[in-house]
Every structure is written in structure tokens, then in C-alpha cells.
């Protein structure tokens, strides 16, 4: 698909506020949709929707589309088809508006549903998890899992508006907060040692909405800068893939084991592998690798793998979207914090030692 002529400015449509209802009502008024539909999952239907319905005129008048369950296993063709069906049955048009109210599963899938409904209706993302806020809701990546592969089907489509608020995170437990924090740590490592150290000292599990909103704004802007420079992920944006080739493979292995691993935890573990490989191939400092690995072991524990998992993991990595050539695997690595290198080709047999060291560091 030709996308050379697409330009985007992810930052311009991004609002950080802890007064969501007020901001949303004001902005939707400008869009003037002929109808509003709000997509929620079982969690946000219970914990978020009622409060927003009470506070926001737009949400209280919207038709509610609730997906079956919550979680990544529901980010599939069957749920997507159900969303299209409801939009169609409810008579949504290209001038209607879909508001995606939920975590990354809801914003990824809802955005894809909207972008492909009648060849594209506008949508707004309101992430309700830290992971969703820092990762999925911004940057135009949409899609579903397919054929046991993460985001195998999807496209690039921008929200009219993304509203990020930390007030939604009140009901998240420590694991959910840490899951999002892994992506924040990734952005910090892409930026500087100073930013990384600041984040390693901050206690996200203490949940302090105002300081977190400030930290989040700085952090999401790191992502936006990469996205704006390379919206369709052909070059510099691949820096954001740090830890993700390993991380996605861990997620897929976990799915195969029928005990799903949250995306953020998978990224936290994947980044340990990526830093090991960075040390081996790009001279990333070993003391910083150990600092990060210790943090991960302490806060995230470990995703346990055995030698007989290696070939399966390599297979998953070969299927990763970023791997466009068939012989070698492609990784984003770091020379040092703030200095990413994209497109590093590594032979599959050289990846195995990195998995060995991952096991040594965490298990």
C-alpha cells in the first residue's frame, strides 16, 4: 500500500487532562458527529463508563457497544466482526464518531473497526490503562491478532483526538501500572540515562495522579517525536521497537501455553534480552544492563523459558512484522541510553546466547 504521501502530526491531537468529561464535550461539539458510539469492554463498562456517563453529555447520549470480555485474547476477528455488526445495525455513518474507552485492546481494535467501517469513520481514543495511554492510544497503529500472531491484521489510522488522563488509573492494580511503566522505561532508555534513572527511582505503584500525568506527558512526547518523523514505521520509528521482537515472541509463547503474558511485562523481559544483545553487538555498557535487569527481576519477576523453547521463540521472531527479510532477524538495539540503532541484523544462532544470558540474569 502506498503511504509515502501521508503526513501526520500525532502531537497535535493529543490532550493531557484530568478533566476528561469537560474536555471531551467541548471537543466533540466541534466535530459535530451525526451519532456517537462508545466502545467499552467488560472492565470499562463497569468501572469507567458509569462515571463518564454521569459527567459527560456526549457519553451519556452515546450508544454503547460492549465487547464480550476483556484482554488480549478478545482482540480477534470475531470481536472485531461484532463491532462492525453493531455499528452497521445502529446505522452509524461516515460522519458518526466512535469513542474507544479502554485499554490497548479496545483502542487498537476500535480504531481498526472505525478506520475500516464504510471506508473510515472518525474515532477518539480515551485510554483507561497506563499501558494504553503510553503505548497503544498514540501513533496510529491499529489492528487485531490473527493466526496466533500479534497485530497480524491492521493498518495505520489516526484518531481525531486522544485524551490522556491518569484519573482512570485509580482502579488499576500494581501489575497493571507496572505493565504500562515498562513502555515508559523504554521511552526513557531511548532518550537518556538521566531520564531512565529518574524513572527507575519513581514509584509508579504508589499512584499519584498529578505527578504521573506530568511524567506521562513528557514520556508520550518521546513517542510522538518518533511517530511524527516516520509515521508508517519504515525507519526511525523502529527505535520504538526496542525489546519488542523478543517481547512479542514471549507473548506468543505465553499464548501457546494458554497463560497470557501482559504486553508491558513481555516488553520489560524483552528489553532485558535486547540490552543483552546490545551489549554483545553494540557495546552497550554492562553496568547499565545489570541495573535494568535487577530492576526488572525485583519488580516484574521473570518469564521462565527453557532451551527447548528457543526454536519456537525464533520462529515467532521471524514472523514479526519488522522482519522483512527471511534469513536474519532484525532488532532495534542501543549503543547506550539515548542512542538507538535500528535494523541490526542478527543470525538466529546468535540470538540463542542472548536468551541464555536472559535466563542467567533473571532466573
Amino acid at each position: 500500500m502506498k503511504q509515502d504521501n501521508i503526513t501526520r502530526d500525532a502531537a497535535s491531537q493529543l490532550i493531557f487532562t484530568n478533566h476528561v468529561a469537560q474536555v471531551l464535550d467541548g471537543l466533540v461539539e466541534k466535530i459535530e458527529p451525526v451519532s456517537v458510539h462508545v466502545l467499552v469492554d467488560a472492565n470499562t463498562a463497569s468501572f469507567v463508563l458509569p462515571r463518564l456517563q454521569a459527567e459527560s453529555k456526549v457519553i451519556s447520549n452515546a450508544s454503547v457497544i460492549e465487547t464480550g470480555g476483556a484482554g488480549d485474547m478478545h482482540k480477534n476477528l470475531s470481536t472485531l466482526s461484532g463491532i462492525w455488526q453493531r455499528l452497521s445495525d445502529d446505522g452509524a455513518t461516515r460522519r458518526s464518531l466512535l469513542i474507544n474507552l479502554g485499554g490497548g485492546v479496545i483502542t487498537d481494535m476500535g480504531a481498526f473497526a472505525a478506520a475500516t467501517f464504510k471506508r473510515g469513520m472518525p474515532f477518539v481514543n480515551i485510554p483507561t490503562t497506563l499501558l494504553g495511554a503510553v503505548d497503544a492510544s498514540v501513533g496510529g497503529k491499529t489492528g487485531i491478532n490473527f493466526n496466533s500472531l500479534k497485530n497480524e491484521v491492521g493498518l495505520f489510522a489516526d484518531a481525531e483526538l486522544v485524551i490522556i488522563s491518569t484519573t482512570f488509573f485509580r482502579t488499576l492494580n500494581s501489575q497493571e501500572l507496572l505493565s504500562g511503566y515498562a513502555e515508559m522505561l523504554k521511552h526513557a532508555m531511548l532518550t537518556s540515562q538521566e531520564m531512565t534513572d529518574r524513572l527507575l527511582r519513581y514509584d509508579v505503584t504508589a499512584y499519584e495522579p498529578e505527578s504521573l500525568l506530568k511524567l506521562l506527558q513528557e514520556n508520550v512526547n518521546v513517542k510522538c517525536a518518533y511517530v511524527n518523523e516516520d509515521p508508517t514505521d519504515c525507519g526511525k520509528r523502529q527505535s520504538l521497537n526496542l525489546g519488542h521482537t523478543f517481547g512479542h515472541a514471549f507473548e506468543e509463547l505465553a499464548l501457546e501455553r494458554k497463560s497470557p503474558l501482559s504486553h508491558g511485562y513481555a516488553v520489560a523481559f524483552g528489553m532485558v534480552c535486547a540490552l543483552v544483545l546490545s551489549h554483545m553487538k553494540e557495546g552497550f555498557p554492562s553496568d547499565r544492563l545489570h541495573t535494568y535487569a535487577n530492576y526488572v527481576r525485583h519488580h516484574y519477576g521473570v518469564f521462565a523459558i527453557r532451551c527447548n523453547d528457543y526454536d519456537g521463540l525464533l520462529q515467532f521472531m521471524a514472523h514479526d512484522k519488522k522482519n522483512n527479510t527471511s534469513d536474519a532477524l532484525t532488532f532495534t538495539l542501543l549503543k547506550k541510553e539515548g542512542e538507538p540503532v535500528t535494523g541490526v541484523k542478527v543470525a538466529p544462532e546468535d540470538v540463542k546466547p542472548a536468551l541464555d544470558i536472559y535466563c542467567d540474569l533473571l532466573m
Copy 2:
């Protein structure tokens, strides 16, 4: 979905030739795909693929994806899902290439599959029917039928390349040639009375590949001019919708009756209705309406409707993608040939007399 920043030049990627294999091999060499996949239906698998495999190196080395049957009823989520599955199983990447070899069903659905596979892989359209060549293969509209509605799910995505050749039409019967010709007549009516008269005199069913290729090139360029001016169909491109609000409703009614109507025939009949409404609302000359209606009755026959079909037809029209407001129906009409008017709002009760006159003229 924000698409304001997308610019397209449909004409630049469009090639008219009766030496397909040679042109294709030369151009694909420049794209340098890591793998090539060719999508065919049962018809093109039998009648077109073998010859192209013999003549084209690219096609002979491509992995073949064959959809189940042929025809619009296969343009659905299940077939689409099968295409994604094969691309995924065959290890296609974002640097692979999908060649859609078939009629409008194959190019619409294959383009949608490619544009959403791993967030977008490049594709080439090679229409093998006149209807596909003049209509579906150009202009970036892709998608599938869903919830009994035409193209309810889809998006705008441009082919890298569209190769149009009349050599494929040798195996088409008169009905299939006339089906495509209806869209050519539409483009002529949007352009001038001179072009319309020229087409009304030409006998497409005689199948003369060289004169038809020339006529097709002139004709497809009419479409390209509209597409380039308004790629996402928000304004002037809606001129191309002439006859389609009625036509799609006829197709949907025919589907409901379980005896599908080809898109071109539906458009031929739909244009009779649109010209009746044009006469009623915009003063379109009645002699030209009769000239066209006589041509349609003589060459296309009639799609028979009764008064008790009217409400169903109006329902289908209200669901049409172009109808973004809920109260009135929106039509593209003609003041005269060469002078389209888009966005004409007509109350549903005013549409019924046009259906009455359609019946009077054709039945």
C-alpha cells in the same frame, strides 16, 4: 479516520497495454518484493492464470492464492479471512507483493487484504473484466460486503500499479461486457453528450481489443480526474456515484431475492432512475432520458420491481455510505450531460415517483 493529508495521483500508476506479461515483469523488478503472491478466483485460475504463468516470470514464480468461488457473494469476511490466513501461512511480509488478478471482487477484496496485512503490504491490480478495469481497479476503494450491505467494511488504499489490458476480455460473454460498459456510459454522461453518443453507437459486444483499449483509456481517465481531485470521496468524486444509490439498492434487493444482479447491470438500471430524478429535480432533458432508457431496455432488459419493494429499496438507500444524514436521501444527479450535481437531498417520499417512472420506462 483523518485522511485530510493524503494526496493521490491515480493516473500515475495506471498502465494501458496489451502486453501484460512483459510490462508486469519489468515493473515488478523495480519494486523488488521479497516474495510475490497472486490472488485468483475459480475463473481466473482456469482462464487467465495459466497463460500469464507461461508468459510472465513474476507470475510463474508467485505463490497462488485461490479464493473459493467467483462472484460478489464471495466478497465476504470469510473469504477475506482465508486470504489473510494464506498470506500469513506463506510468510508474506510488508515487503512482499500481492497481485490481484481478477474482476472487481478480487481487486476490491485483495486490495483490502493487502492494505490490512501487517498494516499494509504493496499490491498490484490486474483487472480481468471490463467492469473491473473501468470501475474497481482504479481509485483506491477497497473492501468487502458485510451485514448484507455492499462494501460496508473497507478503506481507501492505492495500488502500486494497475495494469489494464483488453486481452483478458476475450473470454467474457456479452452480459459481462455490457456490465462493464454501464460504468463507461456513466463516465461518458458525466463528460459530454458527444462522448455519450459515441459510446451509444459503439458495439462493445463485438469485442475488438484495440479500439476498446483506446476507448477504455479515455474513459478511465475521466474517473482518474475525479479521484485525483477528491481521493477520499468527500466532494467532487461523488459525481461518480451517479446511478449508484439506486444501483446498490437494486443489488441488495437482488441479493435478498437470492438471484444476484451484476454491478454493471444494477448501475445501468440505477442510472435510469437517477436520470428520472435528474429530470424531476434538475431539469435534465427528457429526450436524453428516453434515449438512454431505450438503450438500456434494448441491451440490458429490466430489473423488475413492484410497489411493495419500494420501502425495502429506500431502506437500502438510507444505509448507503454516501447518505450521511438520516432524514433525506442524497443523490448525484445531472443538470445535463457533462454537468453533474452532487449532494442533492431528496425526501424518501419523492423517490417513489422516480421508481414508478422507472417501471413505466422499462417494464
